[in-house]
């Protein structure tokens, strides 16, 4: 029987890192969900490095015999902002029973490997395209920032084939060392923890690595429609519509008169000339967003059931994964019992469906924890309207609730709601009420 649940949201900046502690009859059980950052967190004016966070976690999971132990490490998906912390050597001493990853990481599943390869070659093509577009000075600030973000978040995907790999690795631009820890690391290496590659099952067969806790895997599914969302648009040619850097390698073998500027061509209006130039950039933007979505859609989506209470960790799951569960009465019932909600994808609107947020049956909600910090030009992450809507959920709930809590705006100690404690500017602890 579990007597208490403590969730710690670490101050990683733009990223996710959650430690869950379940007090059982004989000992405390621990589960870590993600550990990554793409932009540092702040404690006042001081930066909080991800390395410090990792050291702190390892201290936090140390048992009385001085051994650091975690029952379950779950990685939701292989984006830098969810895994970068795992690249530290310090994890080698940590004893882990099970490492959970989405089925798309399974080295023995050909479909998983196909998806990974598709994403990999797509990221590679995007990278090439980005260099070419940037060299021509064609990109504006919004275009560069999206493409740069997606590349930074994803570049490990291009590990297998990329020539510049060593260079990128040296610049810390890939997630490969973090993925190596998850696949082969922790105490005992590949002989240490049991690696599990999870997928949504129907009917739900909850996993029970911790006595008294049922953990339901809501995503990723291997349903075809969801896999389609994980496939980046077919191969790299999607990107190659720009001038100059043709994947054809040379121009069309037709004789013609050179016109470097389409605006000079008789019969081409200025608007059409602009369209012809812009279409290549627009394509790279769409491609970047499509790649980001493809990887997000591989997210593990966990519903952790302790008695009547549910802690919902959707990772960065996007619409396809959500819809599958919202349409399923059994899972919907589970989701409606959510008390602790890890806000999806750092608070972006499309990872937190309104049909769920505004569900009138979502009456037990106690906390919506948003792990985020303002990042670059992305003014809609978090989406202010979404946070306002979430806050409205708690309007009539009285004093007992934690409400919406942002990792970058921890509540001052004096006004901190019951059950919420800010620890050293390093993490926010939530004592989630259970029955």
């Amino acid at each position: 029987m579990i007597t208490s649940v403590l969730v710690s949201m670490y101050n990683v900046g733009f990223g996710d890192c959650f430690l869950l502690r379940f007090a059982g009859p004989d000992r405390e059980h621990k589960m870590l969900i993600d550990c990554g950052s793409i932009k540092k967190g702040k404690d006042g004016d001081t930066d909080v490095e991800i390395d410090e966070v990792v050291d702190r976690i390892i201290e936090d999971v140390r048992d009385d015999d001085d051994v650091a132990r975690i029952d379950v490490v779950a990685m939701t998906h292989r984006h830098k902002d969810h895994v970068s912390g795992f690249s530290k050597d310090a994890w080698d001493e940590v004893e882990v029973d099970e490492v959970w990853m989405p089925w798309t990481e399974d080295p023995d599943d050909p479909e998983a490997q196909r998806l990974l390869n598709e994403m990999s070659s797509f990221a590679l093509a995007l990278h090439e395209e980005y260099k070419a577009l940037a060299a021509r000075g064609n990109l504006n600030a919004a275009e560069s920032s999206l493409i740069e973000h997606v590349l930074e978040n994803t570049l490990d995907l291009s590990m297998r084939t990329h020539d510049d790999l060593a260079q990128l690795d040296a610049m810390g631009l890939t997630n490969e060392s973090a993925m190596a820890t998850l696949h082969r690391g922790f105490a005992g290496g590949s002989q240490g923890p049991t690696r599990r590659f999870l997928k949504r099952s129907r009917p739900s067969r909850p996993r029970r690595p911790i006595p008294g806790v049922d953990i339901h895997v809501l995503a990723p599914s291997d349903d075809e429609s969801v896999i389609a969302d994980m496939d980046p648009p077919a191969t790299e040619s999607f990107l190659r519509i720009a001038t100059g850097t043709s994947e054809l390698g040379e121009t069309l073998p037709f004789a013609g008169e050179a016109f470097p500027n389409p605006a000079d061509v008789p019969g081409i209006s200025p608007a059409l000339a602009e369209l012809l130039v812009r279409i290549s950039n627009g394509s790279a933007m769409l491609a970047a967003a499509a790649l980001e979505k493809a990887v997000n859609n591989t997210s593990l989506f966990l519903a952790i059931e302790v008695g009547e209470a549910v802690l919902l960790f959707p990772g960065d799951s996007q619409w396809g994964s959500w819809k599958l569960n919202l349409d399923d009465p059994q899972r919907l019932d589970l989701m409606r019992r959510t008390r602790f909600y890890k806000v999806g994808h750092h608070g972006s609107h499309n990872a937190n469906p309104r049909t769920f947020i505004e569900d009138e049956h979502l009456t037990d909600l106690w906390c919506a924890a948003t792990s985020v910090t303002p990042h670059g030009r992305f003014t809609k992450i978090p989406e202010p309207d979404l946070l306002a809507e979430l806050a409205a959920r708690f309007a009539d709930a009285g004093d007992g609730v934690a409400g919406v809590v942002r990792s970058d705006e921890p509540p001052p100690a004096a006004t901190s709601p019951g059950g919420v404690v800010v620890v050293d500017g390093m993490r926010i602890d939530f004592e989630v009420p259970i029955d």
């Binding site: 191969t235 040619s237 369209l275």
Partner: protein, 631 residues
């Protein structure tokens, strides 16, 4: 001459002026121009029988070609080169029936896009029974490198991309071979259809419900696929191969085979036959992507076509089989093949005609598939009152089987599905002398197919008169009271309609589209979509309103049923915005300066970008072949 319409002048709301290019008539005495094209694309065109000659109405052409509607500019923005334009009026080219199909000759590419686009124009003009007055379209056969092609309304252009076939899974192409979308007759016909639908219903690019863009895509596919049935050799082959059952999967009813295969999908881009044995009505509630949703429409129409074709050839098969109806083993007799192919071509033409003609019976805004079904039934009952092949019943059956129901009708019987005849006792008639003038103008174009007589100065007179009629009758049109400054009723288009009645007499009618956009602040929940009311009215030649097809906005002057319909429309719009937001993974990354929240619905449904997001790559399993289904 009527007196100057000064009293109308005050209330006349100018709509966007209809620009007309300068076209000079020509006295050359050709009726048609013959041009060689690939019937499908170069992949199939390796066989001689798939390199065919089509006929389009003759017009004098400048090098380009540049004609009345099409201006080909062969600028390759991938290679930054301009290719020399073809002069199709050059004597040797004219005499040879156009250039020979060649993948390596850009001048042939120019000829092919011209030929196919003009074939689509003549199909539309034939079905509508009138010449289209349309802004000139700039066509770029090699606009960019990429797996895409699109109609861009902002620049009135058709842009075709080219790309390398998938290096691993190129289908029947060479790995890495260059594939030109401008050499796919389907892709060219599809994009040209977008342009013409846009000319006829400009608000159909506003994604006010999930069917609007899907209708654009679906009808464009329908036009492209039916075009195959006008190639006699191709059709006879298909009849022989399928032993008369044209609904079997095959190139005849597939769209863009080479394009699909070259992208590694292992199949044509889309097809008009069902993937499942029975249509699944849930597809209509669950399919979101416009092309996929449009395919529901394509399959519904083709299902009805197959059923009507089957009924039409039943007697032929009995005649050919001594009454048994069971065809013998082996090849069909060539005479039977010819007769079956003739019937298929005739039925196809009739279905295509009605699919296009139905546009005249569609509301000016916010179309749904249910509206289209009603327009099809109405258009067909006007054109073919007898309907010996039960085409209308077949259409209703196949739409309903796919979960598409018209709203607000009593039953699925024809009398209920016809757009309601206007309650004429309460409405005033339109001045029939003005209609006579309009018809006379149109009729003057008939003498010379090469010269469109412009409405010229009379355009304003006609528009003013139609406008005034709506100002007087707004209650019956689902519109609101005209308010020039804050809520103007606008005439967004009008035209004459001609058809031969069941008694063999020529019938003349006029169609008018009205839209009304209240000048209020945009509803933030509609993400840039405007709330508009709209009505299409069809007048008979004597000025009596025959059909009123309206999309109302709520107004206290309307009855409760109309207001319920109006409220539901707005609620559906909001729900669609919401559903689109939830699926949009692009939006969170773009700040308001680049991708404003306010116009996000229009931005995300731009044709250029939705065409780009098509992705079809086959997984390790090859697509299962399908062998079932008969007409």
């Amino acid at each position: 001459m009527r007196p100057a319409a000064s009293k109308f002048q005050q209330s006349y709301t100018p709509t966007e002026p209809v620009k007309r290019g300068k076209f000079k008539g020509d006295d050359t005495a050709y009726a048609v121009r013959r041009l060689k094209v690939y019937a499908f694309d170069p992949q199939l065109g390796r066989r001689r029988r798939h390199r065919i000659s089509i006929e389009v109405p003759y017009e004098k052409l400048e090098p380009g070609p540049v004609g009345r509607i099409i201006e080909v500019v062969d600028y390759d923005a991938g290679s930054l080169k301009l290719y020399e334009p073809v002069d199709l009026d050059r004597k040797d080219i004219l005499a040879g029936g156009g250039l020979e199909p060649r993948v390596d000759d850009p001048q042939f590419h120019q000829q092919m896009v011209y030929g196919i686009t003009m074939k689509v124009v003549s199909n539309f003009e034939r079905a509508l029974g009138r010449a289209l007055r349309i802004d000139k379209l700039t066509v770029l056969p090699h606009a960019f490198e990429g797996r895409n092609a699109f109609f861009h309304p902002g620049t009135d252009s058709l842009c075709f991309g080219y790309f390398k076939a998938d290096p691993v899974d190129p289908g029947e192409n060479m790995p890495g071979q260059i594939v030109f979308s401008c050499l796919s007759s389907d892709i060219v016909a599809h994009e040209m259809s977008h342009a013409l639908i846009h000319r006829l219903r400009k608000f159909y690019l506003e994604p006010t419900n999930p069917d609007v863009l899907a209708f654009h895509e679906g009808l464009a596919d329908i036009v492209a696929i039916f075009q195959h049935f006008s190639f006699p050799g191709v059709l006879r082959d298909a009849v022989q191969e399928s032993r008369g059952d044209l609904s079997q999967p095959g190139k005849l009813i597939e769209l863009a085979r080479q394009f699909g295969h070259a992208t590694g999908s292992g199949e044509a881009l889309r097809a008009a036959h069902d993937e499942e044995e029975r249509p699944d009505p849930r597809m209509y509630t669950e399919t979101f992507e416009p092309h996929d949703r449009g395919s529901i429409l394509v399959r519904a129409v083709f299902d009805a076509f197959f059923a009507s074709y089957g009924a039409r050839v039943e007697d032929l098969v009995r005649l050919a089989t001594g009454g048994s109806g069971n065809l013998a083993e082996g090849s069909l007799h060539p005479d039977l093949v010819n007769r079956l192919a003739d019937e298929a071509a005739g039925t196809a033409q009739r279905v295509l005609d009605v699919c296009v003609r139905a546009i005249d019976y569609l509301p000016p805004i916010d179309i749904t598939f249910g509206d289209y079904l009603r327009a099809l039934v109405t258009a067909d009952s006007e054109l073919n009152p007898e309907d010996p092949l039960d085409l209308r019943a077949n259409l209703v059956d196949s739409f309903v089987a796919r979960g598409v129901y018209p709203v607000g009708v009593l039953s699925l019987n024809e009398e209920s599905l016809l757009w309601s005849a206007a309650p004429s006792e309460e409405m005033t008639d339109f001045d029939s002398s003005i209609l006579s003038d309009l018809f006379a103008h149109e009729a003057r174009s008939w003498g010379s197919r090469r010269e469109l007589v412009k409405y010229g100065d009379r355009y304003g007179d006609f528009a003013i008169a139609f406008h005034q009629w709506a100002v007087d009758n707004w209650r019956h049109l689902g519109l609101q009271e005209h308010d020039r400054d804050n809520n103007p009723i606008a005439v967004s288009g009008f035209h004459s309609m001609f058809r031969v009645g069941s008694d063999g007499q020529l019938l003349t009618e006029a169609g008018v589209q009205y839209t009304q956009t209240p000048k209020t602040d945009l509803d933030p929940r509609l993400a840039g979509l405007q709330k508009r009311a709209g009505a299409t009215v069809v007048f008979s030649g004597d000025g009596t309103p025959r059909y009123v097809i309206s999309k109302p906005l709520p107004d206290e002057a309307h009855d409760a049923a109309t207001n319920r319909q109006a409220e539901k429309r707005i609620a559906d719009m909001r729900a669609f915005v919401h559903a689109s937001d939830e699926r949009d993974s692009y939006q969170p990354w773009i700040d308001d300066a680049e991708y404003t929240h306010a116009d996000r619905m229009l931005r995300r449904f731009e044709l250029a970008s939705i065409h780009q997001s098509i992705r079809r790559r086959r997984s390790h399993d090859a697509p299962s072949s399908r062998t079932d289904s008969a007409t």
